[in-house]
């Protein structure tokens, strides 16, 4: 059976497992109809021209893994940023692991979507925010239809969360192939502040497809920093659909580090709904083999005096392929917008490919919008210069690549995250140098 048919026909079974007498379930059922009508994206869609899910969708995915799978902390500790104190929301094959997690309800909520969707305590927040900004496209609709588990984070007014929150989805490979659809909701009220680290990690080489949706609401003066670490097994694919709404004077940054996986597609959407907003979108992609990473970004400026900063760096070796499609819309009312977009790429091998497409739609007349896109190779003269000073070619190459990507790391606010990314880069490039540039 085709995956689409399998999903649609499994909906009845899904309904037996969740609360159906609720507004949320009406939203789910509508989303299912939507997905039924749209189906999976194909290369015929402009937004999916360079990314094909065909091969990935052919797997016979287990949709609702039933087994309780336990994993030992010692085996997975390395996937956490373990040298910092953090709240943790850990899911194993889509099921919450209380053993590996550390939640809270003290002054703010770091807990589970499954309880937020049903408990009266959370009803108002769910009604106000659940599925409010996620677009009704094919894969987001699919996620919404089966939305039942994920992270629920609610930070009330003026609360500064003192330690970061790590959200990790592990897949154990207990099923031949696993489909995961985490659904996250992050609501950050006025003048509140939170930092979030996300990771999806497959623990075996059995195929995994993760189709996640995250909605983030940043109220007036809120600050939200999100770090996405994508360094998964080469049989694990990810579609990360993130939707972020910002109110006046809020600052939201998303850093995406894409170092591995089969097919990785990031749909990162920012909707600015107020003045003096700052949106920061940054990414480093370093891939090789036949890996594929696609960044689709959207920043929608609708009010005056706002800023957006995009800086994406890509390094592609062997037959790796990359896509960068950065769309900026500046509405007529959004005067004095300062929108900046940069996308620089290095093709290490002549078999590697990058498809870069900046898209600027500007309807206001008093704005500062710039974009720059480059595709190049490593500078041979710089390599010889470094070799002449005793730095071997491999280390020299790594140093050049690290220096190239470093502008993205400068804005990472958690030192331990920065260190971890630096180490991952050194490991990716096969060198043992500290890069403490």
């Amino acid at each position: 059976m085709e995956l689409k048919d399998k999903l649609v026909s499994s909906y009845v079974a899904f309904e037996n497992r969740v609360e159906t007498d609720s507004e949320v379930h009406e939203i789910r059922s509508k989303a299912l109809q939507n997905f039924e009508a749209l189906g999976f994206p194909t290369k015929k869609l402009e937004a999916w021209k360079y990314t094909s899910l065909n091969a990935v969708l052919k797997q016979d995915y287990s949709l609702f893994p039933n087994k309780e799978n336990n994993i030992q902390l010692a085996d997975v500790k390395k996937y956490f940023i373990h040298d910092i104190d953090a709240y943790k929301l850990v899911f194993i094959d889509g099921k919450y692991s209380s053993f590996l997690s550390e939640t809270t309800h003290d002054t703010f909520d770091v807990c589970l979507m499954s309880s937020a969707l049903v408990k009266p305590k959370y009803k108002a927040v769910i009604e106000n925010y659940f599925d409010k900004i996620a677009t009704k496209d094919n894969l987001t609709s699919l996620n919404t239809a089966f939305a039942s588990e994920g992270a629920y984070i609610h930070i009330p007014k003026n609360v500064e969360v003192e330690k970061p929150i790590q959200i990790i989805n592990f897949t154990t490979g207990s099923e031949a192939a696993t489909l995961l659809q985490p659904r996250n909701l992050i609501v950050v009220e006025q003048n509140a502040h939170v930092q979030i680290i996300e990771r999806n990690q497959s623990l075996t080489s059995n195929p995994v497809l993760t189709n996640s949706v995250t909605e983030v609401f940043a109220a007036k003066d809120a600050t939200v920093d999100i770090y996405k670490i994508q360094n998964d097994d080469e049989n694990a694919s990810l579609v990360d659909n993130s939707y972020i709404e910002q109110k006046s004077k809020s600052i939201v940054s998303v850093h995406t580090f894409s170092f591995g996986g089969n097919i990785t597609r990031n749909n990162l959407n920012f909707f600015q709904r107020g003045e003096h907003i700052d949106s920061i979108l940054k990414g480093i992609t370093i891939i090789e083999g036949k890996q594929h990473v696609d960044h689709h970004t959207l920043v929608h400026h609708i009010a005056p005096n706002c800023e957006s900063h995009q800086d994406y760096k890509g390094i592609f070796d062997e037959r790796a392929t990359g896509v960068f499609n950065g769309k900026v819309i500046v509405e007529k009312e959004a005067q004095k917008t300062n929108a900046y977009q940069k996308n620089n790429n290095i093709l290490v091998s002549d078999k590697a490919t990058i498809n870069a497409k900046p898209q600027l739609e500007i309807f206001a007349d008093d704005v500062k919008c710039s974009h720059g896109c480059t595709i190049g190779q490593l500078d041979e003269d710089a390599l010889f210069y470094m070799q002449q000073r005793g730095i071997p070619k491999k280390e020299g190459k790594a140093l050049l690549m690290y220096a190239f990507a470093n502008t993205v790391l400068e804005s990472v606010k958690i030192p331990e995250v920065k260190q971890r990314i630096t180490k991952l880069i050194a490991k990716k490039l096969g060198v043992d140098i500290g890069f403490d540039l």
Partner: protein, 249 residues
């Protein structure tokens, strides 16, 4: 220390060196002069191991060992330093961290541990004072936006840090004002010892007022056509290179 015999080299089938021989002993300073296009920079790059050049005949020995097959970094580890005519800009890598990496990679090649951070900092301070380099300068990206003089001072600073056996200064005087020239020459002179050697490649006599050579060689059309002592440089300055060319006819 360095022995070059009958060296022939070409780039993209264009013959540039046509039977060059040169011997440099420890403690000596050699100047190589000659008109544009004579092959001076090619010689420097070939000694340093740049791969674009093809050595078609002859050999290069360092301390009795043929270095012809060694990679550029291996030659550097063996003590060869080339001060570039046009130092390359490397955005995102600071001067300090570049030189730290260079020193520690050289130590690694010799089976040594990284230099302790304290010793490294002390050495950086000493050598940057020698070259009259401002501290702030050391945290800037390597050669990025540096003036011509700053680039050359930075080259000699790196030379001081790496303490090479054989230093080749390729047109180090070009783009320098008289003060920078004095600082750079003073730095080179302080680093000179009976155990190392310097090859100064230059178009003009000017630098040789400060770094006094034991031998002066004139390179013309890929060969050394005349050798002498420091007075040869003065003669060249007075008479120009045409004099040599005419003598050859």
């Amino acid at each position: 220390m360095l022995k070059i015999e009958n060296l022939h080299a070409s780039i993209e089938d264009k013959s540039i060196l046509k039977g060059l021989s040169l011997e440099v002993k420890a403690g000596e300073v050699h100047a190589i002069m000659g008109p544009n296009g004579a092959g001076k920079s090619t010689l420097a790059n070939i000694i340093a191991g740049k791969e674009e050049y093809e050595v078609t005949a002859g050999n290069i020995e360092l301390d009795g060992e043929d270095i012809g097959e060694l990679a550029p970094e291996e030659r550097a580890h063996n003590g060869i330093f080339l001060s570039f005519q046009y130092p390359v800009e490397i955005p995102g890598v600071s001067v300090t961290n570049f030189i730290k990496t260079a020193i520690n990679e050289t130590r690694k090649a010799k089976g040594l541990e990284d230099m302790p951070a304290k010793d490294m900092l002390k050495m950086i301070r000493e050598k940057s004072e020698l070259l009259e380099i401002d501290r702030k300068f050391l945290s800037r990206s390597l050669n990025e936006g540096f003036s011509g003089g700053e680039k050359k001072r930075n080259e000699i600073f790196q030379m001081a840090m790496l303490a090479p056996k054989l230093a080749i200064l390729d047109e180090t005087d070009s783009g320098l004002d008289i003060d920078a020239l004095r600082i750079v020459a003073n730095g080179v002179n302080k680093l000179k010892s009976k155990d190392n050697a310097v090859i100064v490649i230059t178009h003009y006599q000017r630098l040789l007022d400060y770094i006094v050579p034991d031998f002066v060689h004139v390179l013309h059309d890929g060969k050394i056509v005349k050798s002498g002592d420091a007075s040869l440089a003065l003669e060249l300055e007075a008479k120009g290179y045409d004099w040599i060319k005419q003598e050859l006819v």
